[in-house]
């Protein structure tokens, strides 16, 4: 019960009820006050006018009117009397002339007791005194009993109508508080289970108010994301352990065996070299993972500057060209003139190098790779295509996951982190990457860069356009074979 009283729903209902009650009481008070003022003023005017009119009449008519008026006043609301100049009663129902009443013809409020009226049990009367032309005094009065009655009516209505509403509202508040508490408790139970590791639990939705549902939906979204990340983390953790264990156990076995059987310095040196190679491989995995994490946490833009992506692609192609050549794979670079982009040159180089490395690695002998840069209108697009086995549609989303290696690539060296690194770099730049099939077999990777849009960068972006205007040949015959010797000798 205490928890219900403390619940926000109950407290809200209680506050609203209280405010409603206060407002109604104030309203009633105002209505009563306004009506009372009106009624009093009406009676005042009535009595004043009667007294003024009667004072004009001949003496006999005054006495007759006073007597008949009293006689006809069944409700005993009226008082009327005529006193002679000495203060003795001539006619009427007042026992004596009120001593403190000014004879000015205006209405004055008096207690009934002060006038020695015994037949009226109410408290207040309105009295007018007026001296007649013959020296006698006319007193007219009227009870304002109705005002008091009205107050009683108003109080009764308030008691019967509004006061019972208050416990009703409080009861409603308790009910609402109870329901809210139940919902919150259900949510707490679910969240407790989540906390204990049942990450697949979800908050109930659709059984209550929209605000609760929205909150539950948000929390559920968060839980789903958390579950996904934890699963990924778990898988990555397993993969790290697995991928590290392989070279480490190999190193261990080699060292153990060498210690047992090696007899010459050469044998020892060979084993040590192999061990160092194995440790390097393990360190490489760790370094790659750390780099991915670092890139993901590097604030975007800190190391950014204008980058000519077409030039960068040519440099990467230049670095990898001989590898393709040695493997019997032909490499071709086709670059259009494209605007400068904003980015981290070093990281973009690394991303492109990874993509180019992959393309060459998966292309069989006598195959071909092509690196192209074109302008899509919204920014430069780097297209890297190869004549390798390609990536099946169902695997495309997965190849960017850490340690994911397609079965087909088990015999190709690598640690399965290259594309994750690419993804991290691309994500940091706000660029996007897409995979598709190459007509005739093979894979096409496209890196969609975003052209910078603010003014400072726009000025820099004009440069390549100016350059292509001066050197139209650069743009039109940018397609060149990597093997073509530059005229330097």
């Amino acid at each position: 019960m205490l928890s219900i009283l403390a619940s926000s729903a109950f407290r809200r209902v209680a506050a609203v009820s209280l405010a409603f009650f206060v407002a109604v009481v104030l309203l009633f008070a105002f209505i009563y006050w306004q009506t009372a003022v009106f009624e009093t003023r009406r009676v005042d005017t009535l009595v004043e006018q009667q007294a003024a009119a009667l004072a004009q009449a001949p003496t006999e008519q005054i006495l007759w009117t006073v007597n008949t008026g009293i006689a006809h006043d069944l409700h005993r609301l009226m008082f009327a009397a005529v006193f002679d100049p000495d203060g003795d009663l001539v006619a009427g129902n007042l026992p004596r002339l009120p001593t403190d009443l000014p004879l000015d013809g205006l209405a004055h409020k008096r207690d009934a007791a002060s006038l020695d009226i015994t037949h009226a049990d109410d408290a207040a009367v309105v009295v007018v005194g007026r001296r007649l032309p013959d020296g006698r005094v006319l007193i007219l009065g009227r009870s304002i009993d109705q005002v008091a009655e009205m107050r009683a009516v108003v109080t009764r209505a308030l008691t019967l109508g509004v006061i019972p509403a208050l416990p009703l509202a409080l009861g409603f508040g308790v009910l609402l508080g109870h329901r809210t508490n139940q919902r919150i408790r259900r949510m707490q139970d679910v969240l407790d289970r989540v906390r204990r590791g049942h990450l697949s639990e979800r908050l109930p939705t659709g059984s209550g108010g929209r605000d609760f549902d929205q909150l539950a939906i948000s929390v559920n979204h968060m839980l789903s994301e958390l579950e996904r990340l934890l699963t990924e983390l778990h898988n990555v953790g397993n993969n790290i352990a697995h991928d590290l264990r392989t070279p480490l156990s190999r190193v261990r076995a080699q060292l153990e065996r060498t210690r047992r059987v090696a007899t010459t310095r050469e044998e020892l040196e060979l084993a040590v070299d192999q061990a160092v190679g194995g440790l390097d491989q393990a360190a490489e995995i760790i370094t790659a993972l750390l780099r991915i994490a670092e890139i993901q946490h590097t604030q975007r833009g800190v190391s950014f500057g204008p980058v000519a992506i077409d030039e960068l692609v040519r440099e990467v192609a230049d670095l990898y060209g001989p590898i393709a050549e040695a493997k019997g794979v032909s490499a071709r670079v086709v670059t259009d003139s494209v605007p400068l982009i904003e980015g981290d040159r070093g990281l973009l180089f690394e991303a492109l190098a990874n993509l180019v490395d992959n393309a060459i690695k998966f292309t069989p002998e006598n195959g071909a790779v092509e690196f192209a840069v074109s302008d899509s209108g919204s920014g430069p697009v780097v297209t890297i295509s190869d004549t390798g086995p390609g990536i099946a549609v169902e695997h495309r989303a997965k190849v960017f996951a850490r340690f994911h290696r397609l079965d087909e690539s088990r015999n190709v060296p690598g640690h399965g982190l290259g594309l994750s690194l690419v993804q991290a770099i691309v994500g940091m730049h706000g660029f996007s990457i897409s995979l598709s099939d190459r007509p005739g077999g093979g894979c096409v990777v496209q890196l969609h860069c975003r052209a910078p849009c603010n003014a400072g960068q726009a000025a820099a972006a004009e440069m390549p356009i100016a350059a292509s205007a001066v050197l139209p040949m650069v743009a039109s015959c940018a397609s060149e074979s990597l093997d073509q010797p530059a005229r330097i000798a």
Binding site: E269, D273, V276, L279, D280, A283, T287, L290, R291, E294, I295, T298, V302, S303, E315, D318, L319, Y320, P322, I323, E325, A326, D344, R345, G346, L347, F349, E350, A353, N354, D357, I360, K361, P413, G414, H415, G418, P485, A486, I488, A489
Partner: protein, 241 residues
């Protein structure tokens, strides 16, 4: 970590007696580095804290400083800045466990001359130390010679025994780098950094393929190769007689 033997295979001994100050707080790494440098006949001093290192660095008796980025007391970059403010031009090699994208830039901006990210191979450190101590002499030289090899920077031509050799622009750049550092071990990392402006080690090994191509172009029938592999370390240009 590649630990090379006390005497590098193929690498010639460094000039003895050059003084190196190592400022590094990790005692084990410091010991490894000190013994390796001592094996190469360097005179090594070690400081384990920032203030101690700064004090020793500022006495101006070191030929080279190896400074860890994160040090107790005084940050490595602060030491370098203080040194440069006092107009001490001692070359500095910055070591760092921070592979942060912007770290290298920060290190070089502070006045460092080269930057190595941990973990590094001792042979890589050795090569960089040697490179820093033997800065290319006169870079205004327009004609370089290494034995039978002649490189003309103005005409951009290469000859061996008077025979013209046709090179691609990148190959020319590569050869120039070697010829300015004869008989000095050049690592793959150094070539990637200085020729391709690339600060990571690619998975495939493009450098070896480039060197192989260059070596084939330089070597006529029966001629000894000028650029040799130094196992586990890199390459070296040895002028023929």
């Amino acid at each position: 970590m590649n630990v090379s033997g006390p005497t590098s295979e193929g690498g010639q001994a460094a000039r003895p007696g050059r003084r190196i100050l190592l400022i590094e707080d990790d005692i084990e790494i410091a010991n490894e580095i000190c013994s390796d440098l001592a094996d190469h006949d360097y005179d090594v001093r070690h400081a384990a804290t920032g203030p101690e290192g700064a004090q020793q660095a500022e006495d101006g008796t070191s030929d080279l400083l190896i400074v860890d980025r994160m040090l107790p007391g005084l940050d490595g970059l602060a030491i370098i800045k203080r040194l440069r403010e006092r107009n001490l031009r001692t070359p500095v090699l910055v070591l760092s466990a921070l592979g942060d994208v912007n770290e290298r830039v920060r290190g070089l901006k502070a006045g460092g001359d080269d930057y190595l990210t941990k973990p590094f191979a001792l042979s890589e450190l050795q090569a960089r130390v040697e490179a820093l101590l033997r800065r290319p002499g006169d870079i205004r030289e327009t004609e370089l010679r290494a034995g039978s090899l002649k490189l003309d920077l103005l005409e951009r031509t290469v000859q061996r025994h008077g025979r013209p050799i046709e090179l691609l622009a990148r190959e020319f750049q590569l050869l120039l780098y070697f010829m300015r550092r004869p008989e000095q071990v050049i690592t793959r990392g150094m070539l990637l950094e200085h020729i391709w402006n690339c600060h990571f080690l690619p998975q495939s090994n493009p450098i070896d393929v480039h060197i192989g191509k260059l070596r084939r172009k330089l070597g006529g029938p029966g001629e000894p190769p000028l650029i040799q592999n130094v196992r586990g370390q890199g390459f070296i240009l040895t002028p023929d007689a």
